[in-house]
Symmetry: C2
Subunit: 156 residues, 2 copies
Amino acid sequence: AKPKVGYFPGKSALPNYEAAKKLEQIKVKDIQSIPVVVKETTTIHDAVVTLFMDNVGSLVVSDEDGTLKGVLSRKDLLKVTLGNPASSTMPVHLVMTRQPNIVTIQPDQSVVEAAKKMIEHDVDTLPVISEKDEIIGRITKTNMTRLLLDLTDTLL
Amino acid sequence: AKPKVGYFPGKSALPNYEAAKKLEQIKVKDIQSIPVVVKETTTIHDAVVTLFMDNVGSLVVSDEDGTLKGVLSRKDLLKVTLGNPASSTMPVHLVMTRQPNIVTIQPDQSVVEAAKKMIEHDVDTLPVISEKDEIIGRITKTNMTRLLLDLTDTLL
C-alpha cells in the first residue's frame, strides 16, 4: 500500500523549505554504514552465517581487488535455501544479483537520491561504490529510519 | 556503524523546529501498510511463498479471531530453512517470534515513536494493533524511507 500523502499543509512555507534544503545537503558518506563483504566463492552456508553474525540484511560480494561483483539479500538466500539442503555448499556467485542489475550509489550523492533509488528499485540496501566500482560502504533503510529520528531530535 | 551526527547547524532555528513538530504530528495510521497475515498452522513453505508473493519483509501471525500471535521475519525463516529440508512442512508457530517478545505499535502513536522502536529493538516491521491486540496494519523501514522522500518532496 502506498503511503497517504498530504500530511503537510503546504509547499510554500519558508520554514519547511529550509528543512528540506538541509535534508538534501546530507550526503551518503555522512550516514553510510560499513559494508559486510564476502567473496564470490563463499558458500551459501557461510554467507548466511556471516549475515547473522554481522546482523545485516544484505551482503556485498567482491573480487580479490575489492571490486563490486554482486549483492546477496536475505530474500536471495531464502529463495535458494527453502527445501534445498544441497544449497548450503553452493558458492554465492550462483545466486547473487550481479551487474547490470545491482543498484548502487556514490558517496557524494545525497541521501534523498539514495532513498529514491531504494523505493524505485525496491531494495533495502545500496552498496556505496567509488567511480572505479570499489566497495566503500553500504546504505540501508535502517540508515534512513535513523536519519528521520536524528532529524527530529536535532531539530527540536 | 552508528550514523554521524551534526549535519544540522543547530537546534535553535525556528524553521527546523516547525518542520520537526510537523513530523511528530504524523501518526502511524497515516502511513501504515496493509499487513500480510498467516495462521499459526501455516507451513514454513507456504509462509515463504506468501512472503515472496506479497513481497514483504515480515509476516504477521494471527489466530482465527485476527488477534496477534506472532511475527515471522525473513531472518526467522532463513534461520530454519538453511540445510534443513524438513523445515518446509513445519507450522510457523514453531519458529515465529511470540509474545511478550513482539514489538508492536498502535495507530495513534506518532511515526517518530515507531521509528524509535524499530531502531531500539532492531526490527524492520512493527505490527500495528488495536488495544484488543487485533492486527490492523504494519509499519516498516520502507514506510520510513518513503516518509523521508515525501517530506523532501512536499517541503520543497
